[in-house]
Symmetry: C3
Subunit: 325 residues, 3 copies
């Protein structure tokens, strides 16, 4: 935001993050700080019943969602509440009478910033979060802006790898499924490139292969990658298999292409059979049948722990943005 | 749920209810305990302004509603807040982006349980609450699952009889209106059968008579019942007249049948004229014209007190499920 | 409401407002009290982070919105939370399953008053707020009822003039834009007429001129007014220019008339050039292009401060209605 701190703010003892707009804005030090605070949040959450946190007491978060995303919204709202803060919700800001009447996002932001201390924005247009942050005098968090960015998802993905495997440097990562349309795998590739000795395997049907911009970026960062059509072989040598849903909505009327792509790479008991003992399966959810349900009970199935990590990452960001470390 | 207690829970001093799925799960002792706590909740609510309760401070309830039911939702949310707890709301989980994309209820539950301490589920499919409870590691309350169960309504109905009349054993109860389609009258018949010397009168248009399964059940439990077409005669000897709305939506295109059924048994001043002084009129609401508005001011009109009892019953259940008696 | 105070209320030391239904209900003394408390609320809000208010701790506000108005709803909910109170929300009460089934507003109110301490009602029918207040035993605030009243908007408008200019007596006020359809300019004219030596200029396209009922009312109150088609000349002698949006939805298929009306009176840099140094530009928002965005950075652009004043006015009303001054 134009000014990172609300005028009323007087408790901060260390500089705070300004806004959270895109995954690329974080360097390794910033990531380390976020992950360290996220880890502390596990204890804060565990203490909720006996000794609930008052860290964000008196703070008000506005969740301004121009398209529905209940999972993300509930995760942010739970994060705010676990820290003692309060929430103003709008699930359906697109019908915000003012937006429907032609009000600009900037005018809406100027109004809502008068009622709250931080804005969590979900929008259907790429770049909306940046515009909101440029307008607001309070912090803005991008909770997804159209085909653009969803930085808190990228952060929780990287945090999950660190939390599950214990390290990020040296990771072997298999990205599986819809690599052309998946916002999450693209952001994850950007973020993981900040670490050392990374190896990435792309495993995807031909119609949804990883695009050249990411491959070029990885090359420029010296990150090793290769494409493979053999999921079992990749699984046998990875630390992390990151499976994604084939996004039907991107295929339009070509249902035949969708059906062909969809069944091609399934994470099932056979994959578990070759996956190293220490490795994990991740997925951004929702999951259809690209991971079979009999995988869920394996301790290496990390996707629900990954969703839970979204809570800790968002708690950490809210704390860092509002009161600092 | 698989485990009744969240891992974080350390304050419980007595065993707690696991989940609330169906009216039949409660025996007389369980009902007595719930009703005793519900009665205590009246004082808790009265003290809200001077000395608000902190019994559920730090607890987070997720209201996951796959179909709208504002009355039930607000009642649960008020209950949580009157006990010092916090709420995550989704009014429209059916459009939960994940559900729309094909995510199973089980996967949604596994995500939401990571963000909250208890789930209140309203769903359009019979059996959904049981599936949710089998999946979740936190308590689940069924707030209505399609044509299935709505156990908190049944509990508040029985509690209202006890609270208004002073006893449940020996009650004479007239069930009036749509006995074929009314989920509430069916559940009430199941629950009241647990008490002694009950007599039930069924008063309904022919097209919506009480079904045989309930009649058989009452026979097996030794509960006396009879059918009558004379509302005035029934009203003159009952402790409780439980009126219900004829459910238009069940008649499809047979509007003629609906209109005939609708006007047949109306609770009005004439009914009040024969109703014993100590008796009460109940109704699960919403009410159309099956109780005339000139009845509202009579002290025996108990239906808005009944709605209020929904608050106390839900406060009691939340307390019992989360921290025990 | 039938009784202004909830039965549980025991802390009030001075008589409280009953309900807030229409702008005309307030005399100068009542307005002064509200504005005095609103001013105190600025300090309460500033203290939110270090020393959050507990004035309304344990109080529960139900926002019952039968049509969406996110700006107004968030403003009320922020007000309640800044005072330590809690909120029950329904964004879409029209689909309230009970309303959809034919339940009367009165029955809905009787239920919701059992769950809350104050009701904020937005409705699509003129007169709905009065009916709700006549039914409820707790306070009701009208947050807009169809073409009827929106009294908290009128209060914040008058408060903004007082706060910005320092006085209300002797004000010269230019009302610009859609004076025929604008609920806000009509209410503002009513309220400002309570003060001394007021002069009002009406500046509007012919198709949306101020109606005779308001002109007659001003005449009866001895308020001087005139119509003008020269915005620059009016701006050069006013303390307040109150611009409004031409309401497209009122023109039906006559898009040509709308387009002609819309471009006629724009507040831009030229208007700023003649506007006195101490004067201000106001607008109820949302704004389209009837104020150009290059005006926003001028200190005399008061419309976002005006929106913020909505928070303080609503905090003041909630405090006065629930616990008194």
């Amino acid at each position: 935001s134009a000014a990172a701190a609300p005028l009323q703010q007087q408790q901060a003892t260390t500089p705070r993050l300004g806004d959270v707009i895109e995954a690329q804005q974080f360097d390794r030090d910033a990531l380390n700080e976020i992950f360290e605070v996220a880890r502390e949040m596990e204890a804060v959450e565990r203490g909720s019943h006996g000794a609930p946190s008052r860290v964000l007491e008196g703070y008000l978060m506005a969740t301004l969602f121009y398209e529905p995303s209940t999972r993300t919204r509930l995760s942010f709202e739970a994060a705010m509440r676990r820290l003692g803060g309060e929430v103003l919700t709008t699930e359906n800001a697109r019908e915000f009478s003012s937006a429907a009447k032609g009000e600009t996002l900037e005018d809406t932001i100027r109004t809502v910033e008068g009622y709250s201390d931080i804005i969590v924005l979900r929008h259907f247009e790429s770049g909306a979060a940046r515009r909101a942050a440029d307008t607001a005098n309070i912090p803005v968090i991008n909770a997804g802006d159209g085909p653009g960015q969803h930085p808190t998802q990228a952060l929780l993905d990287v945090y999950t790898i660190k939390r599950e495997i214990g390290t990020l440097d040296g990771i072997k990562l298999g990205l599986v499924g819809d690599l052309a349309n998946g916002r999450t795998v693209r952001s994850l590739a950007y973020l993981i490139a900040k670490y050392q000795n990374i190896k990435i395997y792309f495993v995807s049907p031909d119609v949804v292969k990883m695009k050249d911009d990411i491959k070029d970026y990885l090359n420029s960062q010296g990150v090793a990658w290769e494409e493979s059509s053999d999921l079992l072989e990749v699984a046998s040598k990875c630390d992390v298999i990151y499976q994604t849903r084939i996004q039907k909505e991107r295929f339009g009327e070509r249902i035949d292409l969708y059906e062909a792509a969809r069944g091609k790479y399934i994470v099932d008991k056979k994959v578990l059979g070759v996956l190293p003992k220490h490795a994990v399966i991740m997925h951004p959810l929702p999951r259809l049948d690209e991971i079979t349900v009999d995988v869920d009970s394996d301790p290496r199935a990390a996707y629900f722990r990954q969703a839970k990590n979204g809570l800790y990452i968002r708690m950490a960001l809210l704390k860092l943005l509002l009161v600092g470390h």
